[in-house]
Amino acid sequence: MDDLSRFKQTYFDESAELLAVAEAGLLRLAPGEIDMDEVNAIFRAVHSIKGGGGAFGFSDLVAFAHEFETVMDGVRNAEIPVSTELVDTLIRANDVLSRLLAHADDGTEPPAGTTDDTIAALRRFLGKTGAAEETPAPPPATVHADDEDDEAGIFGDALAAIQAARDDQPPPVAGPVPGGKSPGDKVRWTIVFRPKAELLLSGNEPTYMLRALRRLGDAEVVCHLDRLPSLRDLDAELLYLSWTVTLLADPRVGRAQIDDVFEFVADDCDIRISAEALPPAIIPPAEPAPAAQPAPVRPPSVQPAANLPEPVVPPPPPVAPPAPVATSGSAKPGDGAKRANGGGTGGDHAGPTTHTIRVDLDKIDRLVNMVGEMVITQAMIAEHLRDLPPGQFQELLEGLEGLAQHTRELRENVMSIRAQPVSSVFSRMPRLVRECAAMTGKEVMLVTSGETTEVDKTVVENLVDPLTHMIRNSIDHGLEGPEERERVGKPRAGTVHLSAAHRSGRIVIEVTDDGRGINRAKVLSKAIEKGLVQPGSALSDEEIDNLIFLPGFSTVDQVSNLSGRGVGMDVVRRNISSLGGRIGVYSAPGEGSRFVLSLPLTLAVLDGMVISVGDERFVLPLTNIVESLRPKPADLHGLVNKCDVIMARGEYVRLVHLHRLFGIPKAIDDATKGLVVLVETEDGSRLGLVVDEVLGQQQVVIKSLEANFRRLDGVAAATILGDGRVALILDVAGLREMSRHGSANSGGASAPTIPSLAAPADRGGQRQRQTV
């Protein structure tokens, strides 16, 4: 039973992926631009969910999926025209399917009537096409022969039966083909197919080959169980079966076509093909009965296929439960899709070998934690070795260097396991945009780019909420309605551009809209009205723009479903900064606004430079450091008695004394006696940090300060150094803020320069356009 529940889990996992595939496909579906591959992919996804659901006896789910699938089938046969209404209904159906799956997963019954509305809506489309009111009937019989392959995803075998039910010409009825007496002018082939036991391991599926043979003519398939061991010795991953196929084919079917069937497995099996009439089997077939019993493992599952020609014609609806075994892990939903592209009848081979495994996230997290602790331990050892007399323990030191190297590589590799493309978040956005557009009555086009940018899973997960808020905000506040846009000479549909890119060890995500921009006068008056700003204070444009991040701020007078409760952007900013990220806004009136998020790639480990100021030590993220230098007195200049600037790399950079900022006693005040670390923030502005000393580079494990305390200005997080003491990890952009506003001000992220809005992030590779 444990086994079965494991399969169930696999089924739910895979169904979740399939639902996502279907949803992504549905969202790309629009009247007039129908990509048949998409439509097929959606069909297959729904179909696979249905098939697996049948295996586990989720009858509600199967019934519903069937309705869904029927409509999709109509779409791909061009019987049902694609309309916005249809897409909406299908998306809703996808949601219902997802709910049904969730109920099945919980083991609860979905509330009665969950599916009624949607089923009714789906049937209306069928009605329109005249494709029979009498659903549930089998989908229209115009299924092409090679569709069989497309459908033969994970849950394949029931399909054969369904296919049999649909086929105009019923498959050859079982029972020995009259020996030697080939009807008409057909040629009789005898094919002995003895795959190696390891065939399945390479992802091949003999069923497909048998089916392909069947397509060449009337085939009689005999399965041999002679190699089948006793249940105790049976290895679930191995294939013990072999087959003899007697094929009565049209003379036009040549040897080459039969060879083609086995083209991809020729090395993994023993095939003999002969055109003479031979005794049908070389090895006497054993009784199939005992083999049917074993635990749900793969090889026996092949058997129904082998016996295919039996006249199993399940009554419609074709929800004949496939062998439950068919879900056994190794098959990937993607395979089906890939195979579909393979097309033709001959190339009917098993899908590409998958080199991926599913791993429980907890295991990876444990691994990451362990690596973190290892990094600390390694730093500790290094710290102690530093005290050894130099020159004496050369080998030990070399060994340690090697260890450091390996630790770094280990860390990077472990981190890359958790890395995920941001597309998993971006792909949710089209839907959001669609809904928001519908609610606000605006026309919105979402353009995304750089969705393959990879970032740690924890970061990806935490991006959903902020991005949702930001996109809603852009549509609700940023974009104008279509009429207003036309009046000001913009295209009716507004554009929201979502992009991601790696920049200097961080991920930068931008949400750009071409709307009206931030209405500064309104923002300011609202802020004054709410007491967030003193009346009469002179704020720069950027400062006004940044007021929208203040808690409780909202310019909308009426609370809408979308936004206006004033819990939007401040939550976004807090979420982002709790991830060690920053957010900035750039706006130009009438042209639009741009929100720029910058986040660390991982939340676990960081390459840092340990510096000391007074008795305190701090860690500067390596990605922020440009260089460190000891300035000569001549390099330093006072700027209107307010601050010092230093000439570095051809530009004047403001000096910031860390000890003044943080109030640290006993530190070096004179920059010429200490060191200046030239740092750069994400937006490219530079700063010279005056510190006492640079102690060395080190990987540090990021520890939360907020878990037990709270966030501090200028501090990104904390870490534990080799001696067990805590050091704060500095937030360079935050330091810059503090030094601008004075440390008392916990000010927002304001921007120094306003990069042009005219060039919204074009980097990030392929773009993807869609209209919603």
Partner: protein, 181 residues
């Protein structure tokens, strides 16, 4: 503990005998400690451990009663200086000072005190309400009551409220930073 020296004689750990025996239904146990000449108590259930002083890392731009942060077996906890909190200026720490590590809600934090003095079982009825102090003098919010042990007065603290102001603005953050380690 009735000594009135500026820094009370440090009590060694072996003095930690439950003075009032095992608490019965109406009694609760309190850990008491000294800061200067005053004795304070906190509910023993809030106390996670008592550790010797280890050097802290200071945090910038915070009131002087936020002593800094230390590493408690891989997690980072803030240390509050109780003397400074009550307006007595920062404690000049020695190796004999003690940190009481407490669990306050979801957060773990330490308070720096001079010495642990006792564990008392105190019945509810024995706790006297704090006198009506002009709120300008003493912020009575965090005082949960007064108790007389022999002839000393023990001020019982409500640890939940003691540092409540510390994170008021941040507690609204819907999601605390993920702690990856």
């Amino acid at each position: 503990m009735s000594s009135s020296t500026a820094i009370a004689p440090v009590t060694s750990r072996t003095d930690l005998q439950p003075a009032g025996g095992i608490a019965n239904g109406s009694e609760e146990q309190y850990v008491t400690f000294t800061v200067g000449s005053e004795e304070y108590g906190v509910n023993i259930l809030a106390v996670r451990e008592i550790r010797g002083w280890t050097p802290e890392s200071r945090l910038p731009n915070l009131p002087d009663y936020v002593r800094g942060v230390v590493n408690l077996r891989g997690i980072i906890i803030p240390i509050f200086d109780l003397r400074a909190r009550f307006g007595g200026g920062p404690t000049q720490v020695t190796k004999r000072h003690v940190v009481v590590v407490m669990q306050v809600g979801e957060r773990t934090r330490g308070i720096l005190v001079d010495a642990i003095s006792d564990i008392l079982a105190i019945g509810h009825e024995a706790i006297k309400p704090p006198p009506d102090i002009d709120s300008g003098l003493v912020d009575a919010e965090y005082l949960s009551g007064l108790y007389t042990a022999e002839n000393r007065m023990v001020t019982l603290l409500n640890v939940g409220k003691l540092f409540a102001g510390e994170h008021v603005d941040q507690d609204a953050v819907p999601r605390a930073m993920l702690e990856p380690t």
